[in-house]
Symmetry: C2
Subunit: 179 residues, 2 copies
Amino acid sequence: MGNFYQIGEVCQATGLTPRTLHYYDEIGLLVPSERLAGGQRLYTAADLQRIEEIKELKRLLGLSLSEIKRLLDAEEARRRHLAAANEAPDEPARRAALEQALGVAEAQARSVQDKIHQLTEFGRKLDRHVRDLRRLLRNGNGAAVRQEAARPAAGPAKTALKTASVAQGSAATRAGGER
Amino acid sequence: MGNFYQIGEVCQATGLTPRTLHYYDEIGLLVPSERLAGGQRLYTAADLQRIEEIKELKRLLGLSLSEIKRLLDAEEARRRHLAAANEAPDEPARRAALEQALGVAEAQARSVQDKIHQLTEFGRKLDRHVRDLRRLLRNGNGAAVRQEAARPAAGPAKTALKTASVAQGSAATRAGGER
DNA sequence: GCGAGACCTGACGTGGACGGGAGGGTATTG
DNA sequence: CAATACCCTCCCGTCCACGTCAGGTCTCGC
C-alpha cells in the first residue's frame, strides 16, 4: 500500500515540471495523497492516473484547469456516490444522485460526439486537399491542370480587391444590415 | 463590388468583440483587407470566412493564435503556389512546391485523424459510464450492484517508474502538521 | 554528524488573449 | 452646423498557467 512517488519521479514519468505540480496542488486540481512530515509531497499511482486524465482532458478537449477540476471532482463524487449508494440511505436520494450523474455523463458524451463529428468534417476537408495535391503531382505535366475545384462553399476572393480609392469619401458601397 | 463590413458589423456577425479584432489585427492573424483614410477597418466576406476558420481551429483543435496564424498562412501560401504552379517557372520547382505542400497537408490530416481516434476512445469511455449508470438505475434495488469494473484506461505509461524507496519508516508520521 | 541532492515555500516575472477606459478623429443625420 | 454614433490608437489591468529565482528545509548515504 505504501508505494509512493516523489515529485521528481512523477515529473520524470509525466513530463510535467515540479512547478506545474506545485501549481496543480495550489489550485486543488491534484493534491498529493500524502505528505511527509517535512512537507514533501508523496503521490500514489492513483494520483498518476489522475495526472494522465488531466493531460488527456487538456489535450483532447482543450479544457481549462478549473473545468478539468470540476469534471474530475464530479467524477469522483459520482464514484463515491456509487459506492455509497449500495448501502443507500434512502432509495429516492440514491435515484436522484444516479440520475444527476447520468445527466452529466450524457451531456459530456454528447459534447464529445459533437466534437468528433466536427473534427471528422474537418478531416475530410484536409483529405480533399491531400487528394488534390496528389492528383496534381501524378499528372506531372504542368500545363492544363485544372485548379482545384471550389472547396467548401463560397469562392475565394479574386484579385478584384483593387479598392475603392481609400482616401476618397466616395469609397465603398458598404453592405450592411440594419440601421 | 466592394461590399465591406465595419468592425461593428463583423462583431455582430461573429460574436467577437472589437477589442478581439483589434488584437487579431495587431498580431497579424486577421488584417482587414481594407482601411478607410481615417483608419477604420473594412472587412470583406473573405475576412469573415477567415474569422470562422479561426474560431473553428480554436474550438476544434484548441490551437493557439500563433499556431492558427501559421496554419492559415501556410494554407494561403499553398493556394498561391498552386495558382502560380500552373504557369510554373520550371518543372522541378513546381514539383518541389507541390510536394512540400503535400507533406504539410498530410501531416495535418494525420494529426486530425489521430485526434479523432483519441476522442473516439474517450467517447467510448464515457459511453461505458453512461451504460453503467443506466443499468444501475434500471435495477432499482440498491443492493448487489457490482461496482463498475475498473477501467484499464489504456495507459501508455511509457517511462517505467521505479517505486519510490522513499522514507518507508517515516511515512506514518503525521502529515498535516506545521511546526 | 555532515555533505549532497531533492524538495519546500514565497514572491516576482512572463506570454497569451484579451478587457476597459481615456482622449480624440470621423461619418451620418436632423 | 451640431449632435450622435462609431471608430481609432495608446496604454494599463487581468486571468491563466506556469517559469524562475532565492533562501531555507528535509532525507539519505556515508
